[in-house]
């Protein structure tokens, strides 16, 4: 067998290779756009080639091997790391983040941050008054939106659609990447399930794009914002984000799109197949709508009590509650200090937003955060535990809607929340140690781990993360974004497989 016929058995390499090819396709499209209306077409093209070549090589010279749980975590986390690193190339080659007085490692860190924030659908950005979005060409802007779109549904889900060799392991891969308590099957075959997820996602994106175009956005902006609305990402092609249009109609479309993006795609699929809306039959979606409605009412009242007019208060409240509650992260502030700039609000409404930063959207959606289902089950679990003290001999179950939750799932949710808490506390301490104040560090860490985007204080909707965080702190946040996007465990356990491999090869454990 010749060298070129030899295939190295590595699931991580194979999945990462295909993912890189998808990313390269997005870069090629962006290069074409940039060539038509910008100045960095060649740079983005070079990035695309440099992404395609290793991607294709990995795809050609590797094959998926044994897929146990540790390998699944390694494959998913490894793929996301590789994609995020290569995803920074267009920014690097185009010199997007080069500013006077900063060194190359900082430029690389900024590019990496923007790439991770994009693919993880966080929406935190390096762009700001020192580095305007409006100065960028259409290719870079569309590439930035594309990163969120591809990251929203999941790169690995995309890979599963074209990788029949994985067979049943596809569910494990999707489950490890999908937001929520596990992957749902929409079809008998996993590839079909993954494809159906992507069809739904693409359909929702197209609908939002048409609606945004209808309410006055240009075709370019409509498509770009549809990408980041369906993915609940929050990147915009404008420095003032949605505040640029200062239009209630645009904000309405964005909010509806965000709520749909943050609802379970399984519900969308069931709605389409049964030809009737089933969303309100789902207890999680109902709780989610109650949470958004209650928060909106509370924030509106608090803003009114601070002297803002009722109409302005309602508009500012509903948009910011929805955009943070869905982990969207868009802003409707027309400038610093205006109604929509929530960092200038009183502490009361900001505390409500802080709670929303934690909660996030529904399971099986494109949103981040802890997820409403986990909070609802957590509350039910707390109620059961308190009742068990009152009735020590009673057999009490945790219920979610009308169904009983299995104990292992309840324990898994409890475990998730403990680890989330540990990461928030330790992350806040580390980020604060790197020079960030308490509120910015705390909300920034929660926002990054929950893939929310803007945070409070110095990391508000009109601010750049360069102003609020030092470069090492931004790298910590980028790591937290990836950990949060993959629902903690894949990133935390990704080194188990390499460790086992080393252990087998060198037998150091026995030694």
């Amino acid at each position: 067998m010749s060298f070129f016929e030899t295939k190295w058995e590595t699931t991580t390499g194979h999945v990462a290779g295909i993912a890189l090819m998808f990313v390269a396709v997005g870069m090629f499209a962006s290069a074409v756009l940039e060539a038509l209306g910008g100045t960095h077409g060649a740079s983005i093209l070079l990035a695309a080639v440099l992404t395609l070549v290793p991607g294709a090589s990995l795809w050609l010279f590797t094959r998926p091997g044994q897929v146990d749980r540790a390998t699944v975590f390694n494959a998913v986390a490894g793929t996301w790391l590789v994609v995020s690193a290569f995803g920074a190339l267009p920014y690097l080659f185009a010199g997007t983040f080069q500013r006077s007085g900063i060194t190359l490692p900082v430029v690389f860190a900024d590019a990496l941050f923007e790439s991770v924030s994009g693919y993880s659908c966080t929406g935190s950005t390096i762009f700001g008054s020192h580095n305007l979005i409006s100065d960028q060409g259409p290719g870079i802007l569309m590439y930035r939106q594309f990163t969120q779109w591809i990251g929203g549904m999941g790169i690995v889900v995309l890979v599963v659609t074209v990788l029949p060799a994985l067979r049943a392991s596809g569910l494990g891969l999707i489950g490890a990447e999908a937001p929520g308590a596990g992957g749902d099957r929409l079809a008998p075959r996993m590839a079909q399930t993954a494809r159906r997820f992507w069809y739904l996602y693409a359909g929702l994106t197209a609908l939002i794009a048409v609606a945004l175009f209808a309410v006055g956005m240009s075709p370019f902006d409509a498509v770009a914002h549809a990408f980041t609305t369906a993915s609940t990402g929050g990147f915009s092609t404008r420095d003032a984000s949605i505040g640029y249009w200062d239009s209630v109609a645009v904000e309405m479309v964005i909010m509806i799109g965000l709520v749909l993006g943050a609802a379970s795609f399984t519900l969308h699929s069931r709605t389409l197949s049964s030809h009737r809306p089933v969303h309100l039959e789902d207890p999680e979606f109902r709780a989610y709508i109650w949470l958004l409605t209650g928060s909106t009412v509370l924030v509106t009242l608090l803003l009114c009590s601070e002297g803002m007019g009722p109409t302005n208060a309602l508009r500012a409240a509903v948009f910011n509650v929805v955009t943070l509650g869905t982990s969207g992260g868009f802003g409707n502030a027309t400038g610093p200090g205006t109604n929509g700039d929530f960092v200038t609000w009183a502490a009361g409404p900001q505390m409500v937003l802080l709670v929303l930063l934690v909660s996030g959207g529904c399971t099986g959606s494109t949103s981040g955060g802890v997820k409403v289902m986990r909070l609802v089950v957590g509350l039910s679990h707390a109620r059961r535990t308190i009742r068990s003290i009152r009735y020590p001999r009673a057999v009490l179950l945790v219920r979610h809607g009308g169904s009983t939750m299995a104990e292992p799932l309840v324990e898994r949710i409890a475990g998730f929340m403990i680890i989330f808490g540990i990461l928030v506390v330790s992350g806040t301490l580390v980020v604060a140690a790197l020079g960030t104040d308490l509120v910015t560090a705390f909300s920034g860490v929660i926002g990054s781990l929950g893939n929310m985007g803007p945070a409070l204080n110095k990391a508000g909707p009109t601010a750049s993360f360069v102003d609020g965080f030092a470069t090492p702190a931004r790298l910590v946040l980028a790591l937290l974004m990836l950990i949060g996007r993959l629902e903690l465990f894949p990133m935390l356990l990704m080194l188990v497989t390499p460790y086992r491999t080393l252990q087998e090869r060198f037998d150091f454990h026995r030694a």
Partner: protein, 443 residues
């Protein structure tokens, strides 16, 4: 009040069957009544003029939270003693709740020191012996610290008041310059570390049943002090000897949740206040008078986090959590997880409330954490101590439930509220039914 108490005892019949939840709810009621009694005393003696301030001072006293709104120098000897003894009694009540009430009627029974063996006498062989043994440790320790303060040239009366506030992790002081003398600081540091240590561990060591270095909880607790001092020296106090001593004082006051005030001059790095809030949330050892979520609960949570990671790789494995050589029951683990959930929920709810009532975000978060962990004093981001008298009255009132929740390890307070809701519900429902019947008849 005494008359009302005697009347109540005479009129009320003992129930045949006392359920655990009733004991826990009664504990809350007891604390609540003690707060009301103390507030009434403050008002009746004229020590405090406004009812809200009296209620706040009484609550901070009984719950051993060092957030005082009065200047003790304006008070006579009797009232100063009353103020310090309220904390001392509150600390004793906290010990009884943590070591006897909760394990016997709530959770963590397997961690109670009950087993009798040839070379070991347990702290809590039964409930009443447990109360006696706890008193046998609490009183001599207080006397020991009292002598310590007197050796550090404190007047006997002042030293007694300070010793009571130290051992109860209360944190009330007699004057702003209470800890100006380094010798007093050293005694306070030793007293606070002692107060935050588990009485079960101290009992073991005193009775010769164990060695300090083999007590994992104690080692973690002391280690936390070490790490805290090093980080605080890095971020606030500076590495010189005075700085280290001041750092150790602030760290011990935070971890034990005693909250004695110590102004640390210099530039505070942004991480310093975060560190102190973190230490306050971690809190003292379980089985001490200290507040916070406590060290044992954190150990369990860390072990649960590790177990969950292992379960991700081996979903069908049967993995048990061990603590102090004993396997923790799944029910206890669930209760500890929910305790953490409730602790965070109380902090967020309180922070939201006080933010709405006028505090800024940092102040709201700090005040909520301090109140729930029954610690003090609240600091600004630059390390300056905040005087709660400058807070609006509504903010101080909003902090009271958090202090009581925190002091009672949350569960008893939640059960008391549940019982209250049930009683009110039962009162309302027959009336609703009656009204509905009358409405039907009239129509």
């Amino acid at each position: 009040m005494v008359f009302a108490g005697i009347l109540l005892v005479g009129r009320v019949q003992n129930p045949d069957n006392i359920r655990p939840a009733d004991v826990l709810a009664t504990t809350t009621l007891g604390v609540f009544l003690a707060v009301l009694l103390l507030a009434a005393l403050y008002l009746l003696t004229g020590a405090i003029q406004s009812p809200d301030s009296a209620l706040f001072e009484a609550t901070t006293g009984i719950t051993t939270t060092a957030l005082s709104v009065i200047d003790p120098r304006d008070l006579g000897y009797g009232l100063r003693f009353l103020r310090a003894s309220s904390q001392w009694i509150g600390g004793f009540a906290a010990l009884l709740t943590g070591i006897i009430v909760l394990p016997f009627f709530g959770f963590g029974r397997e961690f109670t020191d009950r087993s009798n063996s040839a070379n070991h006498r347990p702290l809590v062989p039964d409930k009443w012996s447990g109360v006696r043994n706890i008193a046998l440790l609490y009183i001599p320790c207080t006397v020991l610290v009292w002598f310590g303060y007197m050796l550090a040239r404190k007047a006997p009366f002042e030293a007694a008041l300070l010793a009571m506030s130290t051992l109860s992790t209360g944190g009330f002081t007699n004057s702003p310059t209470e800890f100006a003398d380094p010798a007093v600081q050293w005694v306070a540091i030793a007293g606070m570390i002692l107060a935050g240590s588990s009485l079960v561990t101290i009992w073991h060591l005193v009775r010769g049943g164990g060695r300090p270095h083999r007590q994992t909880g104690l080692m973690l607790y002391l280690g936390l002090h070490g790490v805290g001092v090093l980080l605080l020296a890095l971020w606030a106090t500076g590495p010189d000897l005075t700085g280290l001593r001041q750092g150790l004082f602030v760290v011990a006051a935070s971890i034990s949740t005693t909250g004695f005030p110590m102004s640390v001059p210099g530039n505070w790095a942004p991480a310093a206040p975060v560190l102190l809030l973190l230490l306050i949330s971690v809190g003292a050892m379980s089985g001490s008078a200290g507040g916070g979520l406590q060290v044992r609960q954190h150990r369990v949570l860390m072990k649960l986090a590790m177990r969950e990671m292992a379960r991700q790789l081996h979903p069908r494995a049967v993995l048990k959590v061990r603590l102090a050589g004993r396997i923790a029951r799944e029910e206890t683990l669930r209760q500890i997880v929910v305790l953490q959930f409730l602790f965070v929920a109380v902090v967020f709810a309180t922070a939201l409330l006080v933010a709405v009532l006028g505090l800024d975000l940092v102040g709201a978060l700090s005040a909520a954490i301090h109140a729930t962990a029954t610690a003090g004093p609240v600091r600004t981001l630059s390390g300056e101590i905040v005087d709660p008298i400058n807070w609006p009255s509504s903010v101080r009132m909003a902090l009271l439930p958090a202090m009581i929740f925190g002091r009672l390890s949350i569960y008893p307070a939640v059960l008391a509220i549940a019982a209250l809701v049930r009683i009110v519900g039962n009162r309302i429902r027959p009336r609703r039914r009656y009204l509905a019947r009358r409405h039907r008849a009239s129509s």
